[in-house]
């Protein structure tokens, strides 16, 4: 028992203070792309030729990139001779409408929150049934990560539940293989209305690397109506969390939003933490070395 407590102390507090602060992402992380068509050479199609999923297209408005198809691979940036296309480390990419995933020069539509009725129902409690409908298990892995102590999804009132009957909506990953279509339809029908559908990852939005295969249906929207699209291959956990919280109107439009009034659970949590610290102090444990936020030196502080 003491050993467990000691280990607990050494591990420290690891939950990131998102959304109050956004942890630094690695410099090589490929988040929201930026395009500057003024840099494009006349008639150049290098990026379009290089893209494995036809996410890039050129029309009168210049080059456009469909985040729903993008695998966030480095092929287009490597192919571009003039540096007209690049990736930023901005993790915010979700959209409520499929068309809003098209990136051109300029500002993209931010995620709109649900309407007032849906917000009243789901803002503080959203139970999701996850359906893995093909794909590579990458999205599932980073959907799962939100449940760890690092992101602690539960503090936002969001939970994955074991049955569609207990759920307010579906979180779908994968391109919807022919072999999962029926199971997905049945799961959708089993969720009581009103319900929300969230498509996570390039596969669930467009079929991803499997788009156009006979064996898949090119995304969740081919089977069920989708309310939120979260791009990535797979999306970073922060991209998923940002999408969910934006839809629930729990995150500001700014990158670092002003601190919202504490969520109902938070006061209690702070109280519980204080009590736990007190109890440990009475055991004589040295708390000085294990103060929370032990991310200095690169442990859990940055992502």
């Amino acid at each position: 028992m003491l050993r467990i407590l000691l280990a607990r102390l050494k591990q420290g507090h690891r939950t990131v203070p998102f959304p109050d602060q956004v942890p630094a992402l690695p410099d090589r992380f490929r988040g929201h792309p930026i395009i500057d068509p003024t840099l494009c050479a006349d008639g150049c199609r290098e990026c379009i030729e290089a893209c494995p999923t036809d996410a890039l297209a050129i029309d009168a408005g210049g080059v456009g990139l469909d985040l729903g198809r993008c695998l966030f691979c480095p092929e287009c940036t490597a192919a571009c001779p003039t540096g007209a296309i690049g990736f930023t480390t901005n993790h915010r990419m979700a959209a409520r409408h499929r068309d809003d995933l098209l990136v051109r020069r300029g500002v993209r539509q931010r995620v709109q929150a649900l309407d007032a009725t849906m917000l009243r129902l789901f803002r503080r409690s959203l139970k999701l049934r996850q359906v893995s409908a093909g794909g590579c298990n990458g999205c599932e892995a980073d959907v799962n990560v939100l449940g760890t102590i690092v992101f602690d999804l539960g503090r936002f009132g969001i939970q994955y539940v074991a049955s569609p009957r207990h759920a307010d909506g579906l979180l779908i990953t994968g391109p919807v293989t022919e072999n999962m279509k029926l199971a997905l339809e049945k799961t959708y029908q089993a969720v009581p209305p009103p319900k929300i559908v969230i498509a996570v990852g390039a596969c669930a939005i467009s079929g991803g690397p499997f788009a156009g295969h006979d064996e898949v249906h090119d995304g969740a929207a081919s089977v069920v109506p989708v309310d939120l699209f979260i791009p990535g291959c797979p999306p970073h956990p922060l991209t998923i969390l940002d999408g969910l919280l934006s839809m629930l109107d729990r995150i500001g439009a700014d990158r670092v939003p002003a601190r919202a009034p504490p969520a109902p659970g938070e006061e209690r949590l702070r109280w519980a933490r204080a009590r736990a610290d007190e109890a440990l102090r009475s055991l004589g444990a040295d708390l000085g070395k294990t103060k929370r936020g032990g991310g200095n030196g690169g442990g859990g502080g940055d992502l």
């Binding site: 690695p26 359906v131 893995s132 298990n137 799962n144 072999n179 295969h213 064996e215 898949v216 859990g300």
Partner: protein, 507 residues
Amino acid sequence: MSRHSLLTLANGGAAPLEELPCLELADFSEAVIGAPARGRRVSALFGALSARGFALYVVLADDDTGLLECARTDLAGDEYPAMTPACAQVHLFEREIAEQWGVVPAGHPWLKPVRYHASQRPGRDAWGRPAGVAPVVGVTDFFRVEGEEVHEVAVGPVHAGVIEPGHFRFQCHGEHVFHLEISLGYQHRGIEKRMVGGPGKRTIHHMETLAGDTTVGHATAYCQIAEALGGRHAVPRGCALRGVALEIERLANHTGDLGALAGDVGFLPTASFCGRLRGDFLNMSALLCGSRFGRGMVRPGGVAFDLDGSRVADLLARLDAAERDVSDAAQLLWTTPTVMARFEDTGRVTADTARELGLVGPPARASGLRRDVRKTHPAGIFQMVHIPVSTAETGDVFARAYVRWLEVTRSIDYVRRQLGELPRGAARRECPPARGSMFAVSLVEGWRGEVCHVAMTDDLGRFAAYKVVDPSFHNWTGLAMALRDQQISDFPLCNKSFNLSYCGHDL
């Protein structure tokens, strides 16, 4: 069967297709059936249609000499005598051949679909199903135990957690499991079929998403194939960085598995610590190449992202911190009696069973088999710097957990050593296009075990056939055997101790 009649290749080797001996069917069968007695195991057995017609191909691995024996046999008819009755480890391979090509392995004791798709040769169907009618996934004649108090439990394809889809049927008497049948195919997305005619611009992305948690493993296996076919090795620095990425991938997954095992026996400290630590290892991959899953890292000729001194220092510091924490988290498992009581003697697979089924990776090593491609068939950096094989003897959940822990410690040492002595030079060089009419084999020890890729090119150097064998393809049957005579409540624990891939199996 003398070995001279088979083509021998080293891992990552290639040879002109004409050197691949075409055996008589009887000799081919004898080579496969006799393989276990000669100390070989079946790495791949598959059918392929080429300009020369339909043929079966086999790759046998000799773990003592590090050589791979390859052969083919032409098959004109609709059936051939099944090899499974005499060689259990090919049972799923033969089912796959039947499903993909409409060829019946006559006498196969368990001839059921694997992924539930139509045959790739229209008009030929191993089950005589009418053309144009798509098979329905999960509809097959499941093995059923009859008896007054026997009952059946069916689970999936949609599970209670965030898990890939699969269907499991248990034949139970009370809590006691007589038999578990595993029926997959829900993740089938037709990747192998799409490889034919390649490589194309989606190829490397298909390889990176065969099993998303094994991105580096499968991408490395593919790149070794591309380099073998092109006739030029990857640069040394690129090989070393692939080794670093591969071991970080192993660290992330093994750490996650230790946490998941703890969670399944209700031991929350290690479950939460490892959940976070797994993320720390994934973030090390992101430091390498921007992706937590190693996407974009491994490319033919080397790697696409090099490391500078400050990045190496950052990685080493993170590695030290993670090592301390993961060590504490794992030691809690072995010193907590309630954990050990659940781990020990649960889901036991004997060495004989593991050998007979051809298990690979941690489940094989947990049953005492010294099977590790990094040691027995080394390629790339593993030829230069070796890594010890981690084994255990008991073949139970504890052994599979403990082998993972041993591998965590050894992978950390390995990464640290590699980062300290990275070869100089470029991280990547141009890989020449594939030569025509070649046959190439590549093995990589992914974190789940042996990843095997086999490719053949047509006379223009395009893929005429591409076979992928994920370690899970070998190991799912091992999980079914582990459940025999266990409590049904032991299933989640046994399942986690194997942690197999659905998408890697379904392709």
